[in-house]
Each structure stands twice: as C-alpha cells, then as structure tokens.
Amino acid sequence: MRCHRCLYPETHPLGISFNQDGICSGCVIHDEKNEIDWAEKWNDLQTLVAHYRSASGRNYDCIVPVSGARDSFFIVHTVKNLLQLNPLCVTYNTHFNTTTGARNLARLRKVFDVDLITLTVDPHIVKKITRATLRRLGSVQWHCIAGQTVFPVQVAARFKIPLIIWGAHQGVDQVGMFSHYDEVEMTRRYRHEHDLMGLEPEDLLCDFDQLSESDVESLLYPEDELLAQVGVRGIYLNNFLRWDSKSQHEEMIRLFGFESAPRKSTFDLYRDIDSWVYNGLHDFFKVVKHGYSSVLDAATRDIRLGHVTRSQALGVVSELTPFECPDAELFLNWIGMTPNGLQFIADQHRNPEFWYQEVDGNWVFKDPLEFDLGSVEKSFAAPKYLLTRPGKSSDPADRFILFGRGVE
C-alpha cells in the first residue's frame, strides 16, 4: 500500500507504518511541525549550544559536516551567523564531484569564512570498496555515506570537539522514525543499519573483493571509549527548526549565491547536485532494489511542505523515475567495468517484489506507478525550482573531479 497523503510505499527501506486512515508515520510526524512552538525550540537549541561554546577560544565550538550541496549553506549560516558559533567544517570527498559542487564548496568557505578539513581516501581503495558494495549490496553510494557519516565523528574524537551539528535526520524526515519531541541524536546503531545498509567497513573485509584491514582503516568508527571520553554528540537541526529544504535552499541562493544545477531524474535542482552519480546511476539502483527513486523522495517532501499537490506530483514521478540503466560511461571508466558487467550486477539485486523476468531475459517493472487518481483531473506539474546561472571555474564540466579549485 501507499500513503494516501504522500507517495511513500509500505516497502520503504527505512521501515514505515500506517494508521487506520492510510496515512504514513512520516506524514504523522511531519504534522508535528504545525504544533511545535518553534520559538521555544530555538531557545532550547541556543541553550544547548551555549554549553559547547569554547570559553577560552582555544578550540572550535562544534563540527559541521558539509558538502557542495544538501543544505550545507543553510546549516553553516545557522551555526555561524545565527547561533554565533565557531565551527570547524569537515567534508568527505566522494570522488564523484561535479563542477557545480566544487564551486559551491569553495564559495561556502569564502562567504561564511570558515575553516574546512577534507578527507580524500586513496582512489584505488575507494574503487575497491565501491566494487565490493556494488557486488554485495547493489550500492554505488556506500563509500560516500560511510565517509560522510564517519569523518565528522573521527575529527570530533581526535580534535576533542564534542558537538557535531547535522541538518536533517533522514529517519525523522522521511518516515517519521522518531518524533521531533524525542530530539534524536546521532548513533552508530542508526548508521550501521540505515546509512550503511547493515554492513560496517569491518564487514567488507574479503579476499574476493581484495579488501584488507588497512583498506578500510580510514572509514572505521572511533572506539566507544574514545567517544565517551570526549563526550561526542551529534544533534540534528530539524529537531529545532521547522525544516523546509526547498525554501532554505532558495534563501541561500538569494543571500549567498548558492548554485543549483539541471538534473536528469528529478525536479529537485538543489540537493545532491555535487554528485555525478547520485541522480542517475544511484537512482536506477534504488528502483532496482526498492521500486522507487529520489524523485519520489523529493515529491513526498514537497507534498508534505505544500509546494505541490499529490496529483500534480504523480505524473512527474512517473515520468522521471529511471526504470532503465542510464548512460554510466563516466562511472564505468572510473571503476573499470563494462556496461554488461554493470547490468549483470544490477540484475543480481532486482527485488522480486517490483520486478519480474520475462522468458527472453528482459526485466519488467511490475508497478509502473499507476496510481488510482479517481475523479481527480490529471494535472502534472513539478514544483518550481530555481536554476541559477552556472558560475565560472577552471574545473572541467564533463567528468568526475577529484579535487576541484572551484574558482577561475
């Protein structure tokens, strides 16, 4: 079944529940946003971070994980300008960087005047890890999530900066895994199951994939004793602010020149524009395994926030969801695979709940998102997203950028 209000199915990988009216837990928790006294929550946040402000000024007040997209500008603006904290920004290099992402990351440093540390793992190792996660999990994104969720924790533990400030908790935002009132914080348990799909880096060690301990060293979570000694805590701004990613990005475009970019398989021109792989190949694998892709996530978000109606979103989702493997030449050259090889891997991970194989070997998607629209007139329209003019930089616009300048 599918939620009657948004578009999430009961098969959502994070786990979802429905009430008697057919409304999903994500929508129920989203509705809390209308009841919560956000002024009081803002005060709570200020009280919380005040404890972490370095009295001596000898250390940073907090860590802010950033990238060239995904609410990074808004988070840094909130932390630095509104909460008046002195953050250390950290970023994990996904290797799949677009020139827009490189420019946004460079601009972030300049307009917010922040220090930034980057972790770039040896490309040879990243490729080995990605081959392993592609084989075992049908995931091209695994190393990105592993790095993005562990590097801030490693820096917090090593540099003794206990507070990490994240943007939105994905479980709360998508499926209402927790209530806003729970003020859920970062846990290794959540990362293990939901970010890393049940496989921590230690679990990837394997002769077949040629992965040894030293290969995954850079992605290992700090020991419990070290985290306890420092008192590392990761908080999520969406528990304290009325989170609206689309509006927040548009404010950042207006105030700080955040760049958006055109996308093939979604109407959201703001999120994940720093990655060649996220919208495209990753979306295709998501459809293979879970029967939907990030355009449905974007539609659900915008339905709940009132930027689009459900019937308007339906057609766009049907149109933009990638049911076939997109052109993945850049990725294939990077990882060293043939298109047939990639297709073979994808077919190993087809979820029989959504796909069946015909006699000639073709895979067919069972539910082509035919929703029962009833008497509602079909009016398909994507929510309006702003496309900014591309900036100028000396980075190439047609390939993965390992390390971009971001400026001319």
């Binding site: 529940s17 837990s25 729970d182 846990t187 348990r189 419990d224 985290l227 805590r233």
Partner: protein, 288 residues
C-alpha cells in the same frame, strides 16, 4: 546487596524492532538483532525481547527472531511472544534465551506458568503484566483486544506468584512511550501485592525517573524502551548518571565517568580545560 538491573526492551512487530506509544502508535526502528547487539554493548544488564506481532493461537513463537538475537548478546536475554506451551519455553531456552516472558497466557492459561516453573524452574518464568487505570483501580490490560480484562492487578500478581512465576515485569499502558516517568502509584500497588522481584517498564524519559523510582521502592530492575534509540550509548549515559546514587553494574565499554548531564538527561561537555588536556599527551620533562 543485589544491584538494581537497568534493562533494555526490544519490542518487535512483524520482525521489526519498533518504538511504541500507548500500545497504539508504532514507529519502525530497524532490525531487532542490531538493537540487541548495541544495547548489550552499551551495558544492558538484561534484554527483554518482546514479540507483539498479533496472531492466532495456532502460530508458534518467532524462534527465528530469537535465534538471530540470542547470538548478538552475552547479557541475559528474556524472550516473550506467543509462548503457549511448555515445549515453546524449552525450545526458547535451548535457542539462547535465559528466561521466557508470559503475558496473555498468564490470564487465559495460568497452568502454563506452573508447568514451565516445574520443568525449567521459577527463575525462567517472567509474568509480564500490562496495566491500565480502570475507574477505581488498576486493571490488567489485554493488548490484543486493546481493552481492560477487568482483572484487578493486585489479585493477578498474587496469582502469578502462587503459580510459580520467578519475577514480574510490569508496564503502564498510559505511560508507555510517554517519556514522562513511571506510574509510581502502580509501582506502589505492585510492591505491596507481591514479594516477587519486580521489573518496572513504561515511561522512562530521563535518569531522574529511574532515580526517583529506586529511591522510593525496592524494585529489582527497570526496563527502558523507546528512549534507548534516541542517544548514543544511551544505557551507558543513564548508568553514569545513576552510578553515584545507587548500586548498579557499570562494566561497559563506554563509561561516562566525568560528564555531567542536563535535567533532561542529555550529555553536557567537559569544560574547556579538561578538553584541552585531552588534546595533548603530556610528557613531563625529566630533570636529573
């Protein structure tokens, strides 16, 4: 003097660990085996694995769930859900549970407790009692029908004791998932009704809820549910807040020795100087 047990509950619905609120709203959290593994790591003194998947009486307990979870923990494990026959209890113990939890069967088939206690010993049987406030008294709640059975709680507890149960797990339906603290009136009635070891569940939001309970009543343990999913090392943090006040087990990998907590039970940072001390390893210059 026995230490007070700080236990974790992992409630499962259709094979998925869930948070529960008032027995009506469920939020899926993830794989039960991972929850069990992490709660063990964070210092649970005991783990209650409770399967609340509705079913008819012909269905067996979910032994696969038990098997997947039992191998993830070295802490004592209590397993409950659809245990209707003494053979189910024997099977559960042989798959790695240390105790079985009997809930609805304690009302509909009290002889089951007698049989299990005779076969495996009283220490292996926990009578789990869900309680709702009736018009003038606390009554036993039937979670399958979502209504009170009409049975007075005190009477039911005394019957369970007479039948041979080894301990009682008592939970307030109204407080379930509320994060507001325990129903102390209920605990009072329960401690007066029976001398069996009592584990109280339902409503933990902050360490002071537990401290308040232990200060007033001689309970054997407390069971924490939803809250454990909200914060890193939650059990270890809660135990660090309680360690000075009460006799509890503090052997865990993550020990929050020097940290203070807010009133809500959230971690506060060490002060600037203490953090700065951690940054560098100091070597005292040797002076000859």
């Amino acid at each position: 003097m026995l230490k007070t047990r700080i236990c974790a509950s992992v409630v499962c619905l259709n094979g998925v660990a869930v948070q529960t609120r008032g027995f009506t709203f469920f939020q899926e959290v993830g794989r039960p085996s991972l929850s069990v593994s992490y709660f063990d790591r964070w210092g649970a003194d005991e783990i209650f694995l409770l399967d609340i998947t509705p079913s008819d009486h012909s269905q067996l307990p979910d032994f696969k769930l038990l098997r997947d979870c039992a191998c993830q923990t070295l802490s004592p494990l209590a397993f409950g859900g659809r245990i209707q026959h003494v053979d189910h209890a024997i099977q559960a113990i042989s798959l790695g549970a240390d105790k079985v939890v009997i809930n609805t069967a304690a009302v509909s088939n009290p002889d089951l407790i007698v049989k299990i206690a005779n076969k495996l010993g009283s220490q292996s049987v926990i009578a789990s009692v869900d309680v709702i406030a009736g018009e003038s008294r606390f009554e036993v709640y039937d979670w399958r029908d979502s209504k009170s059975t009409g049975l007075p709680v005190a009477e039911h507890l005394q019957r369970c004791e007479a039948l041979g149960a080894g301990e009682i797990l008592i939970r307030s339906v109204e407080k379930d998932g509320s994060l507001e603290g325990f129903d102390l009136e209920l605990v009072n009635e329960a401690t007066e009704a029976t001398s069996l070891p009592l584990v109280v569940s339902g409503g933990v939001g902050r360490p002071s809820n537990i401290a308040g309970l232990i200060d007033q009543f001689n309970v054997s343990g407390v069971c924490i549910g939803n809250r454990l999913n909200h914060v890193e090392h939650c059990l270890a943090v809660i135990k660090s807040a309680l360690a000075s006040r009460t006799n509890i087990r503090t052997e865990t990998l993550a020990v929050y020795r020097d940290h203070q907590l807010t009133d809500q039970g959230r971690l506060l940072p060490l002060d600037d100087d203490a953090l700065h001390e951690l940054v560098y390893e100091r070597f005292v210059k040797e002076v000859i």
